[in-house]
Subunit: 272 residues, 2 copies
Amino acid sequence: MNFQTKLNTTIKKNNSLLCIGLDPEIEKLPKHLLKKADPVFEFNKSIIDKTEDLVCTYKPNIAFYEAYGLTGLASLKKTIDYIHSKYKEIPIILDAKRADIGNTAKMYAKAVFEYWNVDSITLNPYLGFDAIEPFLEYKNKGIIVLCRTSNPSASNFQDLKINGKKLFVKVAEEVIKWNKKYRNCLIVIGSTWPEEMKIIRRMAEDMFFLVPGTGTQGGDLKKTLESGLTKDKSGLIINVSRGIIYASNRKDFAEKARQKAIEIRDEINKYR
Amino acid sequence: MNFQTKLNTTIKKNNSLLCIGLDPEIEKLPKHLLKKADPVFEFNKSIIDKTEDLVCTYKPNIAFYEAYGLTGLASLKKTIDYIHSKYKEIPIILDAKRADIGNTAKMYAKAVFEYWNVDSITLNPYLGFDAIEPFLEYKNKGIIVLCRTSNPSASNFQDLKINGKKLFVKVAEEVIKWNKKYRNCLIVIGSTWPEEMKIIRRMAEDMFFLVPGTGTQGGDLKKTLESGLTKDKSGLIINVSRGIIYASNRKDFAEKARQKAIEIRDEINKYR
């Protein structure tokens, strides 16, 4: 099943636009898990089992695994395989923000879609089309291009004006073009920038946006939904990571994460 | 020893500005290596042992290892450890073109400098300063920021004009500012763009440039050296990957790679 079909199926089934970011940090895990053979996987598994009926997708960020070397990366692989085997309909986004020249981009695409075996990937546009093309050619996959990121320094380059148009708007124009041909593109736009989101929504009425920045980073849910929803009250994948997975660091962590996920899913739905 | 000291020491010792890109593809390796337990490591080891007196640095691109999953990444770790233990003075650049928001960038910096344990890393500037800062804080390491990449689509965004200045020039201006504070920055500029290199050299008289694009990608060595050398005939790290490591795919591959490396090192030195 292709990414967008899986995504739409799960959005409907779970009545949810919530994406949970699986970004484990050893220091923040509940102490009792540290005695297990693979604490990171046990943590993810518990969170997943308690939230699988509340999300539209899961998004592990590979940095949080790579920081623990091959052991951490093995936990990532186990997590991805676990979701695929137990919750077949839930798509997985690997947040890796990749970009390299064509020859190398092919190797990254192979890594992402053949080895890690995820449904979707985040990419950085700075190198231009030929760094994205090898990913686009996996037509069943979701190709999510950074446009306006959620961090404070996003404006350093993304707001520079080219003939009156900001760089992030020029990037969105290109991604929209690529999407016309390949039909598998999405756009990243942080919930910390609702005005910018409005601009991109006017340009791309039907495309999905991946929206980080809600929760710890301070993005406003109401404004995000008002700025970014499509006419059919969808089109947004609202990611929350720390705000859910670290709701508690005790034995009740998964249950507390579930409560927080219900709360956020319901708040999102209030504005749909 | 910090990155720039190691780099300058090895440049002098080997009289070389050549960087060899260690980008192994299983399909291109000599057949006899495929019988070994770790063909990728054996390949790298042979190339390194035959070229260690000809280079100023080695640059593995992590994509070529990640494509083979945990096995490939284990070969990368072995390669890095091998260089550090046997050729202590040769610095290693990990080509990974990372970038993420601050909280995540910290995890990438930890991965790169504490787990992979390399001397230097390539980064993508699109997210702005706070995505680079966690790396800059490792003051002994080399922080190499993409400015003008070697690929044909580089012009898609990097050439967009902001008040008459191209984006890659705006990026270079920022990196030069960061370098004033942290003293550990370098700039990527492809040898396929000698005119652009001249512009950046005028802006950054003493900074090191990492220069991909020579060899298979068609960058011209003479023009590159004329455009990019500093006044003391240094300041460039000229990377060649495929053009050297695949000089032969038979039992003589390492010897042929050595011959090719001598040829390129000497050609570079002709213009210094």
